[in-house]
């Protein structure tokens, strides 16, 4: 077990980083907004952290700076984006990522161009990352209990209904987009701290695809959706090693199958099963007792 952990230490650590990126995608998809802006903040914070690291800025200060910058930019992007709806909003977030990609590739003096920035010290290990994941997951789980969770559910499934019970759609979206930016920034920063490098690939199309894969596989029904999605994505290369160069194709097939047969993802399946069990238990209770004994 110990040697297995040591052997796969990098994969496990990367899985935890991915979980935070998946959380970032999740909080915004959870309120019915299709946004890939997370990748933009992942990139901004990643390059910011890598550059600051070259000047030996203390890691905690870097994290603080990354959160501040992504929070402010996230809020600005949110204020702009919520004026739009549906596809236009999504396009704005895609444009944001593409813009960063162009900047990263062309501003070689600072970003290292397509090679990126290498040889930085590793600031965080697997256990440190696990701790961060646990803290974020607990905060999210608390956040989405009760009133807020119900508002998120209504925004995800029926915007008109949400409005009709007093939910301010724009405000909810601004909060979600900003929160998403903060988490994306945190993930990007931790990614550099774990790997000791930042490469231009991390702003590329494949990160967008990976991030989407995580939320599709895990689903947006609850906070554990992105946890499951990230866990699957992190181990996919290992599991699909038999497929060789067909790996990406197999990954695509998996996504399509999930979209068709379990569009709510793993978390949605789990919730559906839980609802079924609860319903069965209640109806058997009702059968055993007199109806008037059953208090709600």
């Amino acid at each position: 077990m110990i040697s297995w952990l040591a052997y796969y230490d990098d994969v496990i650590g990367h899985m935890f980083v991915l979980m935070i990126l998946a959380f970032s995608m999740y909080v915004v998809m959870r309120v019915g907004v299709f946004s890939v802006a997370s990748i933009g903040f992942w990139a901004i914070a990643g390059y910011g952290a890598a550059i600051a690291d070259q000047y030996d800025v203390p890691p905690l200060l870097i994290v603080g700076g990354a959160l501040l910058v992504s929070g402010v930019f996230g809020l600005l992007l949110a204020l702009l984006a919520v004026r739009l709806s549906g596809l236009s909003l999504t396009m704005v977030t895609i444009a944001f990522v593409l813009l960063l990609q162009v900047i990263v590739l062309n501003w070689e003096d600072v970003t290292g161009g397509s090679l990126g920035i290498f040889g930085l010290p590793v600031h965080i290990g697997t256990y440190g990352l696990l701790a961060v994941v646990i803290v974020v997951a607990v905060l999210l789980a608390l956040y989405e209990r009760g009133r807020t969770g119900r508002a998120q559910d209504s925004l995800l499934h029926d915007e008109q209904l949400a409005q009709s019970v007093g939910i301010d759609i724009r405000r909810q979206r601004i909060v979600a987009l900003t929160l998403s930016a903060l988490l994306g920034g945190l993930a990007g920063c931790l990614n550099v701290f774990q790997t000791g490098m930042m490469v231009s690939n991390e702003v590329g199309f494949h990160v967008v695809v990976d991030a989407l894969t995580m939320v599709i596989l895990g689903g947006t029904a609850a906070w554990y959706g992105p946890v499951i999605g990230a866990a699957i994505l992190a181990w996919l290369p290992q599991m699909l090693s038999f497929a060789d160069e067909w790996r990406l194709a197999v990954q695509g097939v998996i996504i399509v199958v999930v979209l068709v047969f379990a569009p709510q993802g793993a978390a949605g399946l789990i919730q559906r099963l839980a609802r079924g069990v609860a319903a069965k238990r209640r109806s058997s209770l009702l059968k055993r007792r007199e109806p008037q004994d059953v208090s709600a």
Partner: protein
């Protein structure tokens, strides 16, 4: 002073004048009926009141405050709650949680301006319990909507509205698709809700139900309010009879 005043309201969709200069008032404590042939603009009028349809002209005022131009969520927090013509329940939440949604953004009593504090937990539970009891949903509070028959799902929606303790409840065809027995039961419940002090506007086609529950009736046709008054007298009017039989001579 009327609870709600609509003055010369107009809503257009392209060339269609869905609501074409409606001027009506709703009085506190009354159950108002709204009838009219299909496509006469009933739903659009409810949408205009609740902020889902933009007025091209005219105004809507609640307690002397102009609410036309506000967003639906702002209008809700000022005390107008509505249901939709189709059932709108969240399948991922239990019946009780679906009703709770109505109280989540409701404001403390006595604040009509929508700026009050959110309700404390005790008050929320009281309101939900009361609404659940009023609509006879005690046994189903822990169920999920899909487990309930259609008639009960409709009741959950009404309970969601009642739980927010609004000044005005707008119900868009709450009796649609129900059996005769279900209609009779629900109409008794609506009478109870009115006795509780709520003001209602109910869209309904069945005149038997209208006579039973409404104290005031509005009749719409082609986007206009063509008649109003006590249900019995209004229904007798020739212009109203014509509107309902209009297909025979109107299109010729």
């Amino acid at each position: 002073m009327s609870l709600l005043s609509i003055v010369d309201a107009q809503v257009r969709f392209g060339g269609v004048r869905a609501v074409d200069g409606v001027t009506i008032s709703l009085e506190r404590g009354n159950v108002h009926g709204l009838v009219g042939p299909n496509g006469s603009g009933k739903t659009t009028l409810v949408n205009a009141i609740s902020g889902f349809a933009r007025l091209h002209d005219g105004s809507v005022t609640l307690n002397d405050e102009q609410i036309s131009g506000m967003r639906p969520d702002q209008i809700f927090t000022r005390g107008i709650s509505r249901t939709f013509q189709s059932i709108r329940l969240l399948s991922t939440l239990t019946v009780r949680e679906n009703i709770l949604i109505g109280t989540d953004r409701a404001r403390a009593e006595g604040d009509g301006r929508g700026a009050g504090k959110l309700l404390p937990r005790d008050a929320v539970n009281d309101r939900v319990d009361h609404a659940v009891a009023l609509l006879g949903l005690e046994k189903f509070a822990g169920d999920f909507p899909s487990q309930l028959p259609y008639g009960l799902q409709r009741r959950v929606e009404i309970a969601r509205s009642v739980a927010s303790r609004p000044e005005l409840i707008l119900l868009d065809e709450p009796f649609a698709g129900m059996s005769r027995a279900e209609r009779d039961e629900l109409s008794d419940v609506l009478i109870e809700i009115a006795d509780d002090g709520f003001t209602l506007l109910v869209i309904e086609h069945d005149m038997r139900i209208i006579h039973k529950i409404c104290s005031h009736l509005f009749v719409m046709n082609f986007g206009r309010c063509i008649a109003e008054g006590s249900p019995r007298e209004t229904a007798e009017l020739e212009i109203v009879q014509e509107a309902y039989l209009g297909k025979q001579h109107g299109t010729a």
